[in-house]
């Protein structure tokens, strides 16, 4: 808990809510008749409305990307390392928007919301969302906020997929795209990890086919297991080794199945914490959105052709020890962007932290993102002249 807020923080922030009455057609063929999006903004929108930056969140992320909700908050928003005054996404220059995606569990319409057609909680009936559906809903919020064109759309992991989709769905509505620790499609191995997570949740008796809210249960064990598996894949072998090694919690081996190694304790703690703060149906839906994403799919697997509509400048960033969204996947995207003749830059950042590196501060990562954003800001200023 910070007694006073750090000076490089956006400070205390309050989430906002936008309501939409126009039905949203979804890729699955269904539609959402009406929905809410919860979002936060940091910084000021300039008079020309040209300095807006959209930050897209990853699997377990949300709209609280920076700052604090209360002075008592233990931690700031999930990307506070990169959003704030003097930080790479400098809120003295940019008007930053972070949205909780549809299907989420942090305030936007999702499986825990009431289905207006039945009066019952959506639960497992909440339609599966795709990355393109999210981008469509985000564009509507931009309309409502009077933002015609984003100076940049930025995101890591699943957030990076949304950025790529933005460049294809709304090429005229963004000048720059930063795709961090992401990929244009998941590998079989990646889908496999997601399926293990889903099975963990769905096989928990408390899951109740997704109607746990009506049964007043919570599939905590399933969600915990899902998170434990996920967590392993977000760290690198090196970072786990450095953090825990083979350290024991006790002085000697107990020859039992209780927690003995530090890493077991850590994983259980992470899993437990997650199992009460995250919604199981949302987790299932988010992993499906990850699996489905493949913009080249509609073009016979030809990513170069799929990238044709894009007009923005791209920055692609990967991390050397990220094996969940490996640098090779980012490089594939970069190569396709080059073949498609798009403006693209690529940096492969040395980090020991695996996939999680995209959330953390790192000298070179911060410098690269700052350099990119400085140029974005110069372009805004030049346009204004």
């Amino acid at each position: 808990m910070p007694d006073t807020l750090p000076s490089a923080s956006v400070g205390l922030v309050t989430p906002q809510r936008a309501h939409f009455d126009t039905p949203l057609e979804l890729a699955c063929g269904k539609h959402l008749p009406a929905y809410d999006l919860v979002y936060e903004t940091y910084g000021e929108l300039n008079d020309a409305r040209s300095n807006a930056v959209l930050v897209c969140h990853a699997l377990s992320g949300h709209h609280h990307a920076a700052g604090y909700h209360h002075l008592e908050d233990r931690k700031p928003g999930w990307w506070d390392a990169h959003i704030g005054p003097g930080k790479p996404i400098d809120t003295r220059r940019f008007f930053v928007i972070a949205i909780n995606n549809l299907g989420g569990c942090h305030g936007s319409t999702g499986p825990s919301s009431i289905n207006p057609e039945t009066g019952r909680i959506w639960g497992p009936d909440f339609p599966l969302m795709t990355v393109a559906d999210w981008v469509n809903s985000q564009a509507r919020l931009a309309d409502q906020l009077g933002i015609e064109r984003f100076a940049a759309v930025i995101g890591g992991s699943l957030g990076g997929m949304q950025v790529l989709q933005w460049s294809l769905s709304y090429p005229d509505r963004l000048a720059n795209a930063a795709i961090i620790a992401a990929t244009s499609k998941l590998s079989a191995q990646n889908i496999a990890f997601n399926e293990v997570a889903r099975q963990a949740i769905r096989s928990d008796p408390d899951f109740q086919e997704g109607w746990y809210a009506e049964f007043d249960t919570l599939p905590k064990r399933g969600l915990k297991l899902a998170r434990m598996v996920g967590h392993i894949t977000y760290l690198s072998e090196h970072s786990m080794g450095a953090k825990f090694g083979r350290d024991l919690r006790t002085d000697s081996l107990n020859f039992g199945y209780d927690v003995e190694f530090e890493v077991e304790s850590y994983l259980r703690y992470q899993g437990d914490a997650f199992s009460t703060r995250f919604d199981a149906n949302t987790y299932l839906l988010m992993t499906k959105a990850l699996d489905y994403f493949d913009p080249a799919g509609e073009h016979d697997g030809d990513l170069v052709r799929a990238l044709h509509p894009a007009t923005c400048r791209f920055l692609v960033i990967s991390f050397t020890t990220d094996w969940r969204f490996a640098p090779a996947r980012s490089k594939e995207l970069v190569d396709a962007l080059i073949l498609a003749g798009k403006n693209v830059s690529y940096a492969n950042i040395d980090s020991p932290h695996g996939h999680d590196a995209f959330l953390l501060s790192n000298e070179r990562y911060d410098a690269a993102l700052s350099g990119f954003m400085n140029r974005v800001f110069r372009d805004i200023e030049r346009e204004a002249e």
């Binding site: 490089k331 492969n348 140029r375």
Partner: protein, 196 residues
């Protein structure tokens, strides 16, 4: 701008699509974009240089030249430029072919090992030359494939490429009649324009 870069700048046509191998801090691409509407990409592995390029708004790709250009399709560019990188590559001969696969024409600048000061250093001192153009000691130099004007001309002949132009850059004798007449002796930096 460095003298060899200034000379190359003059050689590049308006609006060309260019690939700059080892683009450094992007000085050349930046000037070409501003002065001649040149578009393209720089490949670089130096981290600070990549950040500088991002700051300048130059398309920079982190890519090790020793891994080749397999990710770039034939004839993607009008021109490939490589300054001060030929001598650090594991296989300069293969890179030359690669450059002329992705573009019709390339411009290559490298330190001329047959420069008279280098010859004198080796000849009189009996030690590996150290100079402004070759500042490293033999044991820590990144320059693992040093060559001369004549060596490079021979390589182009052997690989069936033709030299369109040749110039001397960066040395004290630059522009002087002696270095034009005897580039392999008086030229400190060799600059070649080669096509398929």
């Amino acid at each position: 701008m460095r003298a060899d870069l200034a000379l190359i700048h003059n050689w590049i046509p308006q609006g060309a699509r260019v690939l700059d191998l080892g683009c450094g801090d992007g000085t050349l691409l930046d000037a070409l974009a501003r002065d001649k509407d040149v578009t393209g990409y720089g490949l670089e592995i130096n981290q600070a240089d990549i950040t500088t390029c991002l700051e300048k708004g130059i398309n920079v790709i982190e890519q090790d030249l020793d891994q080749g250009l397999a990710n770039i399709a034939d004839n993607t560019f009008d021109l490939v430029i490589m300054t001060q990188a030929l001598q650090v590559l594991r296989r300069p001969d293969r890179m030359l072919d690669e450059m002329l696969r992705v573009a019709q024409e390339c411009i290559i600048a490298f330190p001329n090992f047959a420069y008279w000061r280098h010859r004198a250093y080796l000849g009189f001192k009996g030690r590996m030359p150290v100079s402004k153009a070759l500042p490293h000691a033999w044991y820590d130099t990144p320059n693992i494939h040093l060559s001369t004007f004549r060596d490079f001309e021979q390589l182009c002949r052997d690989q069936g490429h033709s030299i369109i132009d040749r110039a001397v850059g960066n040395g004290e004798h630059e522009g002087h009649w002696s270095s034009r007449r005897w580039p392999n002796f008086f030229g400190q930096v060799a600059i070649f324009r080669v096509k398929r």
